[in-house]
């Protein structure tokens, strides 16, 4: 190949890659939300590089779980809540939906805490930031259509790269970081107080129940035909890899600065604290990148979560849904959507609001919901009448059930501890 032909070939490959990025990539990125960033920062600040090994198994688990949703969406053309309703009945669907609303409300609150934290670093008052952002979030979904919103989301995903830059600016010990990624830490690390708890937290923040509903619904909405399924699979795989690459760099950045200087995680209570703590250690640019990254992530997730929740609940319970319907046609949908945003925003502005208690409650319920969702998914995806030849292979089933068992076990541990 001549140089020019080669360049064209590479460009075409790149376009191909960009063209298949969509629901899988977006879902995985939304997953790195304010809560996720806080957890990664704490992990890096408290335990340094010794947490990096978790990234590989977490990525694998994320890919396995997400791939199943993508496959179900493409093959059946139905959302996960639709399938649960049709195959497991109204009552179970109702329970799952109630749990999902509470868990996601907790998440939406966390996103607004993230927005407040990041904008406070730029001295913007929360009484300005929160109402403005809430209004923007509300409008984005109501006024946009799926195609334009997807483009905005894909752009937002690209901004996660600022964490990669922040990680490089932190001048980590690359050799040590890479070794720690592929090597299990020594026995001593496991006896460090809170270490196991942190591992559980990392997994819990990476695999969340809402993602499965959101991903499958987006795939259905995009009407991806079965023969293009392999592109969707790549979308999911690339998304999960990118997300965890970002997570890896957040941990590395905090490990190379906060951990090395003995800062620890005790000072990291809200997602904005890591950026603040990094300023004297890693300089102005790292601080800016961390703050901007946090704002981007929080705002992005705050736009996706309420909408996805409203869609999922209405779909499962059979209410009219969709932003192409008017308020009168789909009142439940709009009320739920609006209340999630308004409630999440109000919670962070209201001085006496039991923020912490609700966050803990939503984490506990998350631990209840996740096992239910994963088990239901595994039951559904092995049904020949639904999936035809696209049921799980035996090997995949083994991997998936092991993943499920680990996630379930860890969620139970997490739940008991909180």
């Amino acid at each position: 190949m001549t140089g020019r032909a080669r360049a064209r070939y590479l460009r075409n490959r790149l376009f191909f890659l960009l063209a298949i990025l969509g629901p899988g990539f977006i879902t995985a990125n939304v997953d790195n939300d304010a809560g996720g960033i806080l957890t990664y920062s704490q992990a890096g600040a408290q335990y340094g590089y010794s947490m990096l090994w978790t990234m590989l198994p977490i990525t694998l688990a994320l890919i396995v779980v997400q791939e199943m949703c993508a496959r179900m969406g493409v093959v059946t053309g139905k959302g996960l809540s639709d399938l649960i309703r049709e195959e497991f009945g109204l009552r179970l669907t109702f329970i799952v939906m109630v749990l999902l609303v509470i868990v996601n409300f907790g998440n939406v609150m966390a996103e607004f805490v993230g927005i407040v934290g990041s904008l406070q670093l730029f001295s913007i008052s929360k009484y300005v930031a929160v109402p403005v952002c809430a209004a923007l979030v509300w409008l984005l979904a109501v006024k946009g259509n799926y195609k334009s919103v997807e483009k905005i989301f894909l752009t937002a995903s690209a901004f996660y790269l600022c964490y990669v830059v922040a990680g490089v600016l932190a001048r980590p010990n690359w050799r040590q970081a890479l070794t720690a990624t592929v090597e299990l830490p020594g026995r001593a690390a496991w006896h460090t107080p809170g270490y196991v708890y942190m591992v559980v937290g990392l997994i819990g923040t990476t695999i969340a129940p809402w993602m499965q509903f959101y991903l499958q619904a987006s795939i259905v909405e995009k009407r991806i035909p079965v023969r293009k399924y392999s592109a969707s699979r790549w979308d999911v795989i690339i998304g999960s890899l990118f997300t965890d690459l970002v997570a890896w760099f957040i941990i590395v950045a905090c490990a190379a600065t906060l951990f090395v200087h003995g800062h620890g995680a005790s000072g990291l209570k809200t997602p904005g604290d890591a950026a603040e703590a990094m300023r004297p250690l890693a300089g102005k640019y790292s601080f800016l990148l961390f703050s901007f990254g946090l704002f981007n992530a929080s705002f992005f997730s705050a736009s996706v979560l309420p909408l996805s929740t409203a869609y999922t609940v209405c779909e499962g319970l059979g209410f009219e849904s969709g932003v192409d319907q008017s308020f009168r046609e789909a009142p439940f949908f709009y009320w739920l959507y609006t209340l999630l945003i308004a409630g999440g925003a109000a919670a962070v502005l209201w001085p006496g609001f039991p923020l912490i208690r609700i966050t803990i409650l939503s984490q506990v319920l998350n631990g209840v919901l996740l096992p239910i969702v994963i088990v239901l998914m595994l039951l559904l995806i092995n049904r020949k009448d639904l999936m035809g030849t696209y049921v799980n292979s035996r090997l995949f089933n083994v991997v998936a059930w092991v993943t499920a068992a680990v996630v379930i076990g860890l969620s139970v541990v997490m739940m008991v501890k909180t």
């Binding site: 059946t76 053309g77 139905k78 639709d82 309703r85 049709e86 009945g89 109204l90 009552r91 109702f94 259905v220 009407r223 035909p225 319970l317 059979g318």
Partner: protein, 452 residues
């Protein structure tokens, strides 16, 4: 467990309350519990044909003629009635299996909804052979509340609560089942007659709401004319998946029924090979129309025009124009005006142009690319034709000034002309002034909405 047998028989029981009703033998011994209710289709639509009973021996089937409803709400098998094994290919709708929690089409409300519960109604007295019919399907909060509360409190309390919730129900005659298996669809005598009565846009909306398997099953049962109308209205991505599921043969016969402009737009979106194979299966006449349109740029006036229009010789009179309208092959409701063309040029066309008379509407496209199109001389609005005497010369009725557009003009220009002159239709001409097609208002609206 609560006992499901009702103290006194409810005249309008719901399916959720009836499930697990006790069923007794002729001698009063326990025979099992109600598992599902089978309902006839076709002529006896809505009538309960039998009951699926869950007994210790598994699931069994018993016909409605072999049991009676008791005053206490239980069902009693008549003497000698036996539970038949369930074969799984019965031609009945099973309420629990096929309806509960599934999606159905509300033909009256024109949308896809999910079933929360089914309301039945008793006819005949207690003690007489079972005469139970489906009354309506619950899709609102009331049905959902009843099912969620079931087992948690006594049924009378549930009924009291449910009575306070406003119901959203669909009468059984407006319910259309969605069955993805075509063979079973035939067996259940599910016809798409009622769907065919819907406006094509509503039908398209319903198709868009369904999952692919169900969508394709329903689309496959529509007759070609209905399918063509609906296909024009669904969004391009869906058009593609629908016709790819049908194969070129049937697609060709549907495309023949479509407005050529819509057909050309659709074929443009397909892979060349596939659209070629569809065109090859089409009738000569329709294929030619579509192929001509495929030549034009999609964003030009010609790319947006239809070739279904009515043209008459400039020298003709009103009676001849009315005759041309009668012979028009396209959809008559799309016609808002007729076009007067140079009579001499019209004669040169090889198609059915009478030497001295009007030409049937679709003739010019048959003229082929080589021959000259008759030159556009005037436009007569339909209403003016209606008010005039049959012998009036068309030239007298024609607007002296009329708008037309060159075939290469961008569709933005077309939209501007529509706006400036308040048009309903705009003739498209070639470089020599020959009439080659007409852009209709709905295409301009579609373009303007897309451009937003």
């Amino acid at each position: 467990m609560l006992d499901r047998s009702m103290p006194s028989r409810d005249t309008r029981p719901s399916l959720s309350f009836m499930i697990r009703t006790r069923i007794v033998n002729a001698d009063g011994a326990n025979a099992g519990r109600l598992y599902d209710i089978a309902v006839s289709t076709g002529a006896e639509a809505g009538r309960v044909a039998g009951i699926v009973v869950k007994s210790r021996a598994g699931l069994g089937w018993v016909s409605a003629t072999e049991m009676t409803g008791q005053p206490d709400g239980t069902l009693r098998l008549s003497a000698g009635a036996r539970l038949e094994p369930l074969r799984g290919d019965e031609s009945f709708v099973l309420l629990r299996q096929d309806l509960l929690d599934r999606q159905i089409i509300d033909v009256h409300g024109r949308k896809v909804v999910r079933v929360n519960d089914v309301d039945l109604q008793w006819f005949g007295k207690a003690g007489s052979p079972l005469d139970l019919r489906v009354a309506e399907v619950e899709v609102g909060l009331r049905g959902a509340a009843r099912r969620l509360l079931l087992d948690l409190m006594p049924q009378s309390a549930i009924s009291a609560i449910a009575a306070r919730i406003s119901a959203r129900v669909i009468p059984w005659e407006f319910v259309d089942l969605i069955e993805a298996d075509p063979a079973r669809r035939v067996k259940l005598k599910l016809s798409s007659e009622r769907l065919a009565q819907l406006h094509p846009s509503d039908l398209a909306g319903i198709l868009e709401d369904l999952a692919p398997a169900e969508r394709e099953a329903i689309f496959a049962t529509l007759d070609e004319g209905v399918a063509a109308d609906a296909l024009e209205e669904v969004d391009p991505a869906l058009q593609k998946s629908l016709i790819e599921s049908l194969g070129p043969e049937r697609t060709a016969s549907i495309v023949e029924e479509m407005n050529p402009e819509a057909a050309a737009d659709m074929l443009n979106e397909l892979a060349d090979e596939y659209s070629e194979s569809i065109l090859n299966k089409m009738d000569e006449h329709e294929r030619h129309e579509v192929e001509e349109l495929l030549e034009f740029r999609e964003d030009s006036a010609a790319g947006r025009m239809t070739t279904d229009y009515v043209q008459v010789a400039y020298s003709g009179n009103v009676a001849e124009a009315i005759q041309a309208l009668r012979e028009f092959e396209g959809a008559p409701e799309t016609v808002t005006e007729i076009y007067l063309v140079d009579g001499e040029a019209a004669e040169r066309g090889p198609a059915a142009l009478r030497p001295d008379g009007p030409s049937p509407g679709t003739a010019p496209t048959l003229a082929g690319a080589a021959s000259r199109k008759p030159v556009l001389k005037g436009v007569v609005p339909l209403a003016r034709l209606l008010l005039a005497q049959p012998e009036t010369r068309l030239a007298m009725l024609a607007d002296r000034r009329f708008a037309s557009v060159s075939k290469d003009a961008h569709q933005r220009v077309v939209a501007d002309l529509f706006d400036r002159y308040n048009l309903r239709a705009l003739p498209v001409v070639d470089s020599l002034g020959g009439l080659i097609g007409v852009v209709e208002a709905d295409h301009v609206i579609a373009f303007l909405r897309d451009a937003r």
